[in-house]
Amino acid sequence: MNLDSTQIVVIHDGLISTNDPLLVELRIRFGEQNVEYFPSSNPGLEYVLANLSSKMVVLLDVNFSHGEKSGFQVFEEIRERTSLIYVIMITANDLNTLRTEDLITLVNHDAFAIESVASDYIKIISLVDKAAHQLEVRVASVLEQWINLRSPDEQATQFIMTSDGTKYTLGDLLGEIRQQSEIGMAVERNILVLAIDLLTRQKEKLNG
């Protein structure tokens, strides 16, 4: 799996197996090896949690069969680990019948979108596009990628010390960035400031 390219993970039990037109078109758009399909929720969730390093957009169904986790449960479990995976809910339920508390979960935990399974697949794919683009430009995602490219040794070395004396390794920072904690967000902000600083000075050089 190429760490640079975005993974599309489809966890849905309402598709026509692996040849559903949605999957076919997703593969054309994002690359054969970049689209994963799981017709049941538990294996799908396992895969996502085992591959947090990838840039990932997840298309997630709401209802699964008895004995499997529901789409909302899967979504919550992903969010417990990272904010950097975009999740698009695709449902066959009438949106009016969704429970308020589930909708609140989606909004508060930043679900990217919710769409009906009966919509044109073009519409669904354009949502995936948007989400993939966000991943490209979101600083936290970029940072995540950068950290992942360091060797395991590098990632385990203590890297930053905050003014209260806490030390963080790159691995720790990765977790903080995914959780969007204070220090995670501070690092994110600093990178942006750095980028702006470099750009402004480039500009000066060009102008001067």
């Binding site: 039990d13 309402g14 037109p21 008895h66 066959a92 339920n93 009438d94 019948t97 009966a118 697949y121």
Partner: protein, 676 residues
């Protein structure tokens, strides 16, 4: 209109006059006047409260001023809108007690519309309204609304409807104090000449029950049926958690309903179930007007539970009832702020149960009457039999007498006598057959049909259909976007086949769902063993023979159930189809079906020696569209239907250890008996 009258109640009025003038033929020139003697409004009340849209409809207090202490029934912030709907112009004449002037405010809704649609629209609150004061006696108080340029005409029928709805505001049996009297007047409809709006006395009912309570002993009355004479009587229990209540309920059996229909010209909407009043006034969940009887909300859940035991339970279209509670005695029955229901606490749940328990007594009555009818028939038969026997005996003795004296008559009389005694014997035989049928050694059990609730049904159908449609749509969309393109030829073929197949599946699914909607679900007495045998040995015989499948049936005991045959056909049909697929590659194919009768349930085991069920799939296989045999044409609905049918009969199905271990599969189906 209903909302406006409720507002008068909230304003502590004791009298409300509703007057319709020229409203029937010429609404643009007609007026409606609502006049009350309540507290009245001040200028700031009108400007800051009455005119302002209530974004938060919570009141700051729940009860009106003493000594009335009325729990507010009207919805806050609605007055304005109610009036707007009725007519284009409004004149408010109002005065509070002690003021020396009466305030008159004119509001012209039509002009506001124009101004609101102007290029630079004005806000409603910015518009200057016309108003003036006139002198008035200090102790006058109240509000009059004069609505003109009416938006619709009011026919006599409309006024009748209004009268009925308004009559429901005040409890018919336990009236409110201080009183709240409504008078309806129309200059075009002769029936309404300042006529007091009162609930009609309930007529034509077949049975009646009334409950009260005794605080000194702490006891509450309940209804019970006297099984020996079929009369409804009362008994005493402790006052319940929701507090003491009074209740009156009128039951309309079939003949009572017929009489009612004749008297009220087929308008059965007045038989509308139970309503709850508090301190003489209707409670908010029951205070919403809904004209369409099919849309009336069944707040107490009376009809909902009816599905579960269809025949003897009494529903809202068969009773008129009033439950009377009071703020003081029943403080935990609280109107929910969404106005649709009461707050769901344990006291309210118990109250609902209690009400249903009383209604169930009427259900017992229904059953009693049915039994009485049946035994009446028996009695008739018995009487006929006795009479025939008597007739035979007398004829014989008569014959002997006559033949002694006139031997030539023997040829004529004897056949007649023989015929009479054959007839007598036939009747006796059929009577004892009927009795035998009743006391049959074979157990006759009833399996009640429990239909899934309408909500589940709707949710099921919409989810299934939407999923199916999504698949079909995407396949078609792919064509639209990509055809022609040789790279995708294989996919095009696949999708075309798929669309066809899925349409068929969709048809099956909707047929299945619609079978629940059909109002005629035929019930008949069915012998289980015979039924299963006929399914295997006649209906599916050809198919099973063609597949070389041998069948082993071991239904040791049998029993008769009163149920829907088609459901059983669906169950076994689908199980057999599944087995056929599973047995495709098995050399010696066997399907086995065995049944055991227990004291509480009937257990059926359905097995085949095919390739079995993958470990871990035991629950998954019952999900809609879940199939491991898509390549063999499996659509994943067979077992879904099987499970749903079995559940509808209050049974259950699960995967058991295979009788043909280590291969094959066994399903265990259990039908518990209804012990009522």
């Amino acid at each position: 209109m209903y909302e406006l009258v409720k507002n008068c109640y909230d304003a502590n009025a004791t009298d409300v006059y509703v007057d319709f003038k020229d409203a029937s033929l010429d609404p643009i020139n007609g007026t409606i006047t609502i006049s009350d003697n309540g507290t009245g409004m001040s200028f700031s009340d009108i400007r800051d409260k009455w005119m302002v849209v209530g974004t938060n409809s919570k009141r700051t207090k729940l009860y009106s001023d003493p000594p009335f202490d009325r729990k507010f029934v009207g919805e806050k912030g609605i007055g304005r809108f109610a009036v707007d709907k009725l007519g284009e112009r409004l004149l408010i004449r109002t005065k509070t007690k002690g003021e020396r002037r009466r305030l008159n405010v004119t509001i012209k809704w039509d002009e506001y519309e124009t101004k609101a649609n102007a290029p630079k629209p004005m806000l409603f609150t910015e518009m200057a309204n016309e108003f003036f004061y006139e002198p008035a006696p200090a102790d006058e108080h109240g509000t009059t609304l004069v609505i003109s340029r009416l938006s619709e005409n009011w026919s006599n029928f409309d006024l009748d409807r209004l009268y009925i709805e308004l009559s429901k505001i005040v409890s018919p049996f336990y009236p409110v104090d201080p009183p709240f009297d409504i008078f309806l007047n129309s200059n075009t409809d002769l029936e309404y000449r300042n006529t007091a709006v009162k609930a009609d006395p309930v007529k034509y009912y077949s049975h009646y029950g009334e409950l009260s309570f005794d605080l000194s002993t702490g006891k509450q009355q309940v209804l019970k049926l006297n099984q020996s004479n079929g009369k409804i009587q009362t008994d005493w229990i402790d006052i319940q958690s929701f507090g003491p209540i009074k209740m009156r309920v009128y039951y309309f059996n079939e003949s009572a309903k017929k009489r009612y229909r004749t008297a009220y010209k087929n308008d059965e909407s007045r038989i509308d179930g139970i309503k709850i009043y508090r301190d003489g006034i209707i409670t908010t969940p029951f205070a919403e007007y809904e004209g369409d009887p099919n849309k009336k909300r069944d707040i107490l859940g009376i009809d909902k539970r009816r599905w579960r035991g269809a025949f003897d339970k009494v529903g809202t279209r068969e009773i008129i009832g009033v439950v009377d509670i009071s703020k003081q005695q029943n403080p935990n029955i609280i109107d929910a702020t969404n106005r649709q229901d009461f707050i769901d606490n344990s006291e309210y749940r118990r109250l609902k149960e209690f009400i249903i328990e009383q209604i169930d007594v009427l259900g017992e009555l229904k059953d009693y009457e049915r039994k009485v009818k049946r035994s009446a028939v028996e009695k008739e038969l018995q009487k006929a039999s006795d009479e025939v026997k008597q007739f035979s005996t007398e004829i014989r003795s008569l014959e002997k007498q006559i033949v002694r004296e006139h031997p030539q008559l023997k040829g004529v009389l004897t056949p007649l006598v023989d015929q009479a005694s054959t007839l007598g014997k036939t009747i006796s035989d059929s009577i004892s057959e009927q009795k035998k049928f009743e006391k049959d050694v074979v157990r006759k059990e009833k399996i009640y049909l429990s239909l899934m609730s309408l909500q589940d049904y709707a949710a099921n159908i919409s989810h299934a259909v939407r999923t199916s449609l999504g698949k079909i749509k995407r396949s078609a969309e792919f064509f639209v976007n990509n055809f022609p393109n040789p790279t995708f030829d294989d996919l095009f073929k696949e999708y075309a086949l798929f669309i066809y197949g899925e349409m068929n599946v969709l048809l099956k699914v909707t047929d299945f769902m619609l079978s629940y909607a059909s109002s005629e679900l035929d019930f008949e007495d069915v012998d289980i063993k015979e039924l299963i045998e006929s399914i295997f040995l006649s209906e599916y015989r050809t198919v099973l023979e063609a597949e070389n499948i041998s069948v082993e049936l071991e239904i040791r005991d049998t029993f008769i159930i009163n149920t829907n045959k088609r459901f059983f056909h669906d169950i076994f049909g689908n199980l057999i189809s599944n087995s056929i697929k599973a047995l495709r590659n098995t050399p010696n194919k066997v399907i086995k079906c065995s049944g055991l009768l227990g004291s509480d349930a009937f257990d059926l085991y359905f097995s085949d020696n095919g390739y079995g069920i993958t470990k871990g799939d035991e629950e998954w296989i019952f999900g809609l569209y879940n199939t491991r045999t898509a390549d063999k044409g499996g659509a994943g609905i067979g077992l879904y239907i099987v499970e749903k049918r079995i559940e509808a009969l209050r049974g259950s199905i699960e995967v058991a250890e295979s009788e043909f271990k280590p291969i094959g599969a066994t399903f265990k189906i259990t039908f518990p008996f209804d012990r009522d």
